[in-house]
Symmetry: C2
Subunit: 450 residues, 2 copies
């Protein structure tokens, strides 16, 4: 039966590509409240097109689009899909080779903000259900949880899960993201890092001033620089007291997974135009940092004049956006509190800290049946072993939606190593999209049969 | 005779305000090459309107508008005016209460980018010559040097002075700027600080990346922060080796001037919304820092995402704009070289340093006759003593145009303590403008009579 579904997917490839383009051409920048209602409506329409009952569940922010397809035989398992319909802001616009919402196809790739993160995966999962149902009955019940605030830290998804336990209950959840590694192997992720995203703001005089005043008026940009420099040393070690206290060292089983993880260092360095990785890391050290290392990243710096040429200005204000990616069992609320104490203790009590996103890390129990299904079906669809990523360097609300509910979560998808998530020229390969649809169909099949 | 000139100025007040508005409504942002040719043409036209022979002298950048009025009696002194027709960029636009090039008059003030720096002074000087000549013959020969690149560091004015020694030769020069202090006293400046304006740029990967990569890819924003933090300590001391070596301590005569300098600390703090000055300085310490202290100022910081909300991005590049204001006898070229050595020695050899403006500090000899004339005429026009600023915290090409040519330079003008130079809502009081015209006329009169 599954071969017939695969044939159907090949026959419908043009239709599914159209769905993908339709999704990608609809801007949905949650951070800037652009196109959110339109995109939620489009997702609901596509859910209904594949036979699901769809509803938009209100939250304190953008609605969750929820879909349900209860057609499994009595006693059938329930498989949930978690995706998101929001995307990152598309700037810097000038760095894109085609407009970010044009969804242009060039050389077998589709380029768009959201192509890889996360509309390609959403479209692939919808397409798989569509094709499967054209061939026969689904062997599982399905739930779709498609939120609109993943890129702004999912501030309302925990409340959604608490308010709708019936909607998140499942025997397994296919998580939102996934990529091939540089060797072309499918990566399967069994956890996510957490996140503490904050903005630091320093205020000086109530107006920008001629920089001649710098001899006597405090410069918030200097205070920001000095404060930031206390947060992380040039050896990359975070200097906030207690930051590493809850970090769990990888278990023997996790270390074994690390050794199997493929990472093409030379190709990645060439793609990025770099001579070496951070701190000169290679091999297992490099992989361990990527998988199990918490980070503290300056995502943005802003103060005064940054246009062409010169402006001799003493800025009135300076700000930095920082993300801390956390690993089990770090707690984002604890990190936020420790950051505040750190600044206060060093004379930076005046620096405002605004939290934007506080997400727990999460790990799937290695014994979950869904893991076995996904790895077996990957072998079947791609003709080779998938690699297992114990903890994705990305983040997301896996803790409230899955771990806290006892639902095993496994993540795979249609991206590749050069998909440029969150960056200009985000893209997926159309062949990966079609293969990814087959992979979803195979997982539905396998999870229903087991 | 001078009283008749003053009467004429009062009669022509409306006309001169119109000239001022015409100048202010013409954008002339040298840093962005906006409106430069139009403004040069307007200045030439106004010079001719007051009877000067005007020409636009080409440079490697924007032309110098040069005017000459040779009508003094044989043996008469020559007085030069140095001004500039370019202005600072007007951003942040949203902080202006009226459009920056509308030259709107509200509550007796004219608001415009360039109103105080430097079009108000240029208009006042033109108006003074116009009024004087309506009453009688000028007692001095006049030269006008009106450059178009002051706000971008006067990169071509030294070459102009070298190529045209006849155009810069004079017995004294009225420099471009000037303000009342918070007590309403006219400030007369007898020197300027120098400038070394640079941009630091750090490059990482060849594209912005998802910040999940921060565990293994170097972040240029962190490197920028760490490098900047090595340049100046939290005690405000510049840590570049040799930075202070050439700083001359103030002489006894200069210290005496410092003690006479008025500075309304409480009012300035209130205007700026600050609780205290930098380092808690007050009184003479404060004035000494303002007048004789070199500075290192972050004028701009830029990296990654600085829009609303969050973007979890690892920036490809990070940059800072820095200005060093220098005091006699610091040398901007030496500071630039020392900065490069400093960065190299601390492992920041990869950081690009782009110099934008390198200007020497300059001081007028305290025995120059023009100083006596200006102070005496200020008493007459304003009815009270002017304060003397030995070294203005501002900067400009006084060294190549005056000090290196043996021409004493004295600076005074039509601004006030809240003129917001280089900042939103730049403005001058119309009464200060009219008084300033009279002051220029009085200096012409006094310098010709002496």
């Amino acid at each position: 039966m599954l071969e017939a579904v695969f044939d159907k997917i090949d026959q419908n490839a043009q239709l599914y590509t159209t769905w993908l383009q339709e999704l990608c051409r609809q801007p949905s920048v949650a951070a800037q409240n652009r196109g959110m209602a339109e995109t939620a409506a489009l997702v609901a329409r596509l859910l209904e097109a594949v036979g699901a009952r769809a509803e938009r569940v209100p939250t304190a922010g953008f609605p969750v689009v929820y879909g349900e397809l209860q057609q499994g035989a009595p006693g059938a398992r329930t498989l949930a899909f978690y995706n998101h319909y929001d995307v990152q802001p598309e700037d810097p616009l000038e760095a894109w080779d085609s407009p970010p919402f044009a969804a242009e196809i060039r050389g077998g790739h589709l380029y768009a903000r959201g192509a890889a993160d996360n509309k390609g995966n959403l479209a692939a999962r919808l397409a798989a259900v569509h094709a499967y149902r054209q061939v026969g009955a689904l062997p599982v019940n399905l739930k779709f949880i498609v939120e609109g605030e993943e890129e702004i830290g999912s501030p309302n998804i925990a409340a959604f899960a608490a308010a709708h336990p019936d909607k998140v209950r499942a025997d397994g959840c296919v998580w939102e993201f996934g990529y091939k590694n540089p060797d072309g192997q499918l990566q399967v992720s069994l956890g996510v890092k957490g996140m503490c995203y904050v903005e630091l703001r320093v205020r000086g005089a109530n107006t920008d001033l001629h920089s001649a005043n710098a001899a006597v008026v405090e410069n918030p940009a200097w205070r920001l620089v000095w404060a930031l420099a206390t947060l992380k040393g040039t050896d990359e070690r975070v200097l906030i007291e207690g930051f590493y206290d809850r970090v769990l060292p990888p278990s023997a089983e996790e270390v074994a997974l690390l050794d199997e993880m493929a990472y093409n260092e030379a190709e990645t360095l060439e793609q990025l135009g770099l001579g070496s990785f951070l701190g000169g890391r290679t091999g297992r050290d490099l992989k361990e940092a990527l998988v199990f290392g918490p980070t503290c990243t300056i995502c943005g710096l802003s103060a005064g004049y940054s246009g062409p040429g010169t402006k001799t200005v003493l800025p009135a204000t300076a700000s930095a956006k920082l993300d801390f990616r956390l690993v089990p069992d770090q707690d984002p609320h604890e990190v936020l509190a420790a950051l505040r104490r750190h600044l206060d203790a060093r004379g930076f009590g005046d620096i405002e800290v605004t939290p934007y996103s506080l997400e727990h890390p999460a790990k799937t129990d290695l014994g979950a049946p869904l893991i076995e299904t996904v790895l077996a079906q990957a072998r079947r669809v791609y003709g080779r072993e998938a690699t297992v990523n114990r903890l994705s360097p990305g983040t997301g609300p896996m803790y409230p939606l899955c771990q806290a509910q006892g639902v095993p979560a496994v993540s795979f998808g249609v991206g590749h190593a050069g998909s440029n998530n969150h960056a200009p020229n985000e893209n997926i390969a159309l062949q990966d999209f079609i293969d990814g649809i087959k992979m979803v169909a195979a997982v539905i099949h396998g999870f229903g049969a087991a």
